[in-house]
Point group: C2
Chain length 143, copies 2
């Protein structure tokens, strides 16, 4: 699995950039994304929260259009990457996690380890830039 | 993995029964649950929906307290059970899916295949009943 991370300050356009990269990867292989949800509670529509709070280690919801929702305990970034690998994902884009050791595309001025490319543009991002960033992802070693 | 399903009409207390069974299973092994979420859209707090709608096959969120959220495409009940098996779950309780081939605990008067035990009580369920139902789960063959 080839992995790249998009980091930047708040409101710098990270999600918009991730969306554009995911869209550009369609048809080139299975794509997965990871995002940080600090403070995010288990969603409370349906009964996921009730099952989870009763003590289930894993709760899986079967939604319409064959969408699966899974909530599980005991995970950080490494476990999230493992979930993507187990799902047969070929390209993974991680939004956030500035302090990870992953290779990074950086929006704006923050300093990070493993900088691959700094992007000074704001959304909407142009297609040439997106293609260049996809190229950087494709060049990553399998991990 | 030992699997049992709890089915019944709306408002018959299915979720309350599942909660009580999950709680009673604590300390006896890893527990997973599955629930039906017909019409459930991808939750729209955070950016899960944006990643997913851009075309990601799998989106994983890393929440606080090491909770992982995963949304993926291409799943029904069988795939949900497979998710639980892959997570090392020993006991699985499925809420709903009356027409499945799973062994069933039924709340109320509906007719189903593979009926193990019909429960005529309403919540709160007594402890002796819950222990009896857990006993039925434990007697299920590994599947």
């Amino acid at each position: 699995m080839k992995v790249i991370s998009v980091v930047g300050t708040k409101k710098s356009g990270k999600t918009t950039l991730v969306e554009a990269m995911v869209r550009a990867l369609r048809g080139r292989g299975r794509v997965g994304t990871i995002k940080n949800m600090p403070g995010h509670p288990v969603e409370d529509r349906g009964d996921t929260r009730r099952h989870f709070e009763a003590g289930a280690d894993v709760v899986v919801g079967v939604g319409s259009e064959r969408i699966l929702f899974k909530v599980s305990r005991g995970g950080g970034l490494e476990e999230a990457l493992e979930e993507l690998r187990a799902s047969g994902v070929e390209f993974a884009i991680v939004e956030g996690f500035k302090t990870s050791g992953l290779p990074k595309i950086v929006l704006g001025g923050i300093e990070v380890d493993n900088l691959l490319r700094r992007v000074d543009a704001s959304p909407p991002f142009d297609e040439g830039l997106i293609e260049e960033l996809i190229g950087l992802l494709i060049l990553q070693p399998e991990s």
